[in-house]
Amino acid sequence: MKNEVLSKTIHEVSADLKAKKVSSVELTKAALDHLEEIEPKVQSFITITRDEALKRAAEADQRLASGKDVTPLTGVPLAIKDLLCTKGIRTTCASRMLETFVPPYNATVVEKLYEAGAVSVGKTNMDEFAMGSSTESSFYKKTRNPWNLNCVPGGSSGGSAACVSSDQAFGSLGSDTGGSIRQPAALCGIVGLKPTYGRVSRYGLIAFASSLDQVGPFAKDVEDCGLLLGAIAGQDPKDSTSADLPVPDYAAEMKKGVKGLRVGIPKEFFPAGLNQEVADAVKKAIVELEKQGAKVEEVSLPASPYGLAAYYVLAPSEASSNLARYDGVRYGLRVPGENIVEMYSKTRAAGFGPEVKRRIMLGTYALSSGYYDAYYLKALKVRRLIKQDYDKAFGKVDVIATPTAPNPAFRFGEKTGDPLSMYLEDVFTVSINITGLPGLSVPCGMSESGLPIGLQLIGKAFDEATLLRTAYAYEQATEWHKQKPALKES
């Protein structure tokens, strides 16, 4: 039987820990027991780290007992996407290529969670090298959507979303290159945030597309989301692209209400043919914000519909280079060959799945001699046009509201036959990565068939506080985040 404490949020359970109503070891054991019990159904994890978790929980209890250095995350069981390097714990990127890879170092965000006293219960499943929108491209398993086990949890951070949605962990970290936090958060009915590019260190995040990747949190509610962001944000001397900016007190910032806040609605994000349930839910959410005193106005982002096309040039190009290092020499899989070129080619053919190969080839093509200007350079120019659109819009509004995903969770296999149809899942999320802006998804409704729908809020660069504030105000007035999935098939 599931221990009721597992249904709580981080801020609730953190209070219990501080009040000694429960110890971290008890809490962690309960979480692990529940995790293991439902794992055959949900399959969120690639690696479960029970011993490591209990060790950290015991340390957290000492910290709680001493009362020193206690943070809201001290003693709280969390989960980490399996592309964040964890020292001594294998980190696979859901790829056969890295089945045996054990990093000798921690990602900066992992280090920060540990410093805050958090407990990690394991490494979550994902699309291979974060390439996908359904977590189906994992070499290891298919994570299932807790709201309907026949549906995908979204991707690429499907495991990190499903485990929080099903109370296997109180929160988790994921990564978002084109929507990989926001889309699974929407599909699993939880809160997910992609911070501004540079807000959170990428050191130790196994790169997919370096100029787009960003680490961010999954949480059961907006307040937890702010706590997790506060813990991982900040400049890192190991990441040249992390910003030298102070990290606000998100918990205080988010409770200021939305009176007078200017909310922009871009018509390009409500195209004809958009799933009606999604469109309705998002529009209702906007009305709710208006009710609370926000001023809603239409904005135009004319170049943003080209974001997906630009993304599918830029991301694969960077990926083709980032994934070149998997060559069977220093770590990971090696398939023997007569000579070095044969070894390389066999290793990479066996180590990567079809989606990864597709993107590597696409990116290699876009960068290759004779095509660079037509594809890569063109995409970089379109990137600037899209950025200019957003800059202009944010001259008028404080936050932009859109759907997160074009539809609720879909069934396994529904889009795997046609890569392009899968790519279209990212249509509302990619332009935020292209521009580096922060984006958040908060639950805003349920489909007829009982699948969650997400509202995407987009903010100015480094203004996550306003996103959290808007989402918090909305969430406090609604009940979506309180619903729990039944872990049933239908």
């Binding site: 090696r334 070095i340 990567f352 660069a461």
Partner: protein, 94 residues
């Protein structure tokens, strides 16, 4: 710009990916579809537009020239598929 099977074979070779003939046929089709979708970028006039490589406007991030500890040799080699006398071993190069 129509993508041919020859292009896919060239790119696979460049990316060090062994591909079978049926794979080449499949990838050619799929990549051609994606590239066709990407062609829509040409609808935008970008003649006066500077490329944007970094979403962030940051410059001159440097590190002081101060030594930090390296890994031990055992740590360096710990993930190596094949190691020999302190080195990573690789098959013959020519």
């Amino acid at each position: 710009m129509a993508l041919s099977e020859k292009d896919v074979q060239y790119v696979a070779k460049l990316a060090r990916l062994e591909v079978t003939d049926p794979e080449v046929a499949k990838y050619t089709q799929q990549l051609a579809n994606i590239l066709e979708y990407v062609e829509q970028l040409n609808k935008l006039d970008t003649t006066q537009v500077e490329p944007l490589t970094h979403p962030l406007d940051v410059k001159n991030v440097f590190r002081p020239d101060e030594p930090k500890p390296s890994l031990t040799q055992a740590e360096v080699l710990s993930n190596g598929p094949e190691v020999q006398s302190g080195h990573f071993k690789v098959p013959k190069i020519m």
